[in-house]
């Protein structure tokens, strides 16, 4: 490891040797390249001044739980972005798996139970449901991956169609057994405990168990990305598919597996989301992929392909959540939040391209 202090000294020395024009350029570059972080810092400082309870342990716990809830989808979608693609079906897939998990894990004595004959909810049944919804997500992801890999169809087209197909399945699923599109509620206590159960308290806010699951998931994804041949192949295909093919990488299977893994992540997100929000509605998970994609791009998983780090994704999710937690506390209207989200995505992409251009 290089000495960070010496690095800083060297940077300062280089800066001193620059001409006045270069110095100005250096500052403009610095401000523009970090525009989103600076914006976040301004919001944080402003919110902290206006709302003193923003800078408390409880509010930090709230931030961590939100990050833990949004992180799995971003980890999944990042793989697709590394392959220069994207995934528009993520939100709907998590909505479908949330609905399936909800129905499987409703209270046994709930009056409006959709399927009356399901077994009583215990730990074994919860784990079985978790595996089932991960499998459902993985299968849809595999369909995405197959069409992208086999016919070189653009992921936008493929995942847009699976998004709509999945929505159709969700609508159909919600009208089963005379449910008539009503939200699925009455989730069992065991399921809520499995996901939302308190591990410890920060301030006076409980930190739920899914924060620990998210940490495990990060460790798993870090291992897959950095230590397995599959991860290395993924980056190779992302930066240059032709070159990867020539050097013996199986491009077809790598693409299929990346999408399958992403699908499994969305399945898991749905499982968590169901218990987190307490009931599952038709629009659960709607537009969730936008947040995930934005987080990835902010975190340096570039649309150029073949670049990205797990730590970057975590940072991206954190930045996005901090901005939204701050804005919600300030009382910014939810319709404005959508416009802000759109502007953040556009800005993050422009920053992404800018870094690429300036480096050249």
């Amino acid at each position: 490891m290089e000495n960070p202090v010496r690095n800083l000294q060297r940077a300062a020395e280089e800066y001193r040797q620059k001409s006045a024009k270069d110095k100005k350029r250096y500052w403009i570059d610095g401000i523009l390249n970090n525009a989103l972080y600076i914006l976040m810092a301004i919001f944080v400082v402003y919110t902290a001044i206006e709302k003193p309870n923003f800078l408390t342990l409880g509010s930090f716990a709230n931030l961590i739980t939100q990050v833990a809830a949004y992180l799995p989808m971003a980890l999944g979608i990042a793989g697709c972005i590394v392959l220069t693609g994207t995934d528009l079906s993520a939100g709907r897939i998590s909505g479908l798996t949330a609905a399936i998990a909800g129905v499987f894990l409703q209270k046994t004595d709930f009056v409006n139970k959709m399927f009356a004959n399901l077994p009583e909810v215990n730990d074994g049944w919860i784990l079985l449901t978790l595996l089932a919804v991960i499998a459902v997500g993985a299968i849809i992801g595999m369909v995405n991956g197959f069409f992208v890999a086999k016919f070189s169809l653009h992921p936008f087209i493929v995942t847009l169609s699976t998004q709509l197909i999945t929505y159709g399945i969700i609508l159909w699923f919600f009208s089963l057994n005379g449910n008539n599109s009503q939200p699925i509620s009455g989730l069992s206590r065991e399921y809520k405990l499995f996901v939302n159960g308190e591990m410890f308290r920060l301030g006076n806010v409980a930190v739920p168990r899914y924060v620990a699951y998210a940490i495990l998931l990060v460790a798993l994804m870090w291992f897959v990305w950095n230590k397995t041949p599959f991860g290395k192949n993924m980056f190779a295909v992302g930066s240059n598919a032709e070159a990867a093919k020539v050097s013996g990488v199986n491009v077809f299977w790598t693409t299929v597996l990346v999408h399958t893994l992403a699908g499994a992540m969305y399945g898991y997100s749905g499982f968590i989301e169901g218990a987190r929000s307490g009931s599952v509605a038709i629009n659960t998970g709607l537009n969730a992929e936008c947040d995930a994609i934005a987080a990835c791009v902010i975190g340096g998983v570039s649309f150029v392909g073949g670049t990205g780090k797990i730590s970057g994704i975590i940072l991206g999710v954190f930045v996005l959540r901090i901005i939204f937690v701050a804005l919600t506390m300030l009382g910014v209207d939810s319709s404005s939040l959508y416009i802000i989200k759109g502007a953040i995505i556009l800005c993050a992409c422009a920053l992404d391209m800018r870094k690429y251009l300036v480096k050249k």
């Binding site: 300030l330 009382g331 209207d333 502007a343 556009l346």
Partner: protein
Amino acid sequence: MEEHKETQTEEQLPKFRGLYRHVKISVKALDCIIIACIAVIVILVALDLRNPGFTIQFDSRGGTDVPSHNQMYGERLEAPEPPTREGYRFTGWYTDSACFDPWDMENGKIECDLTLYAGWEKLE
């Protein structure tokens, strides 16, 4: 001469890979986009801060109209004057139109825009 210049500048624009491969853009244009986006975000936030809070709407479902009002994040709901309806008794505010899920007046906190529905019980 001018034509020659144009082709030259076009060649100077570096080629992107991946999803951006058809993008032709200069650093200057990107700077403008970034600044514009940040400006939009800041202006929106500033506009919302002038009239902050979340809108709570009340759907009286056939009863007398209840005006909506704004409340800040984390506050408890300020209950409005209950609506009246001929032949019915008001049973409280619900979060769903089927009047299944009552709003928790004690512990419920405002975290987003909200529409509440009036619950009615038919008088015998």
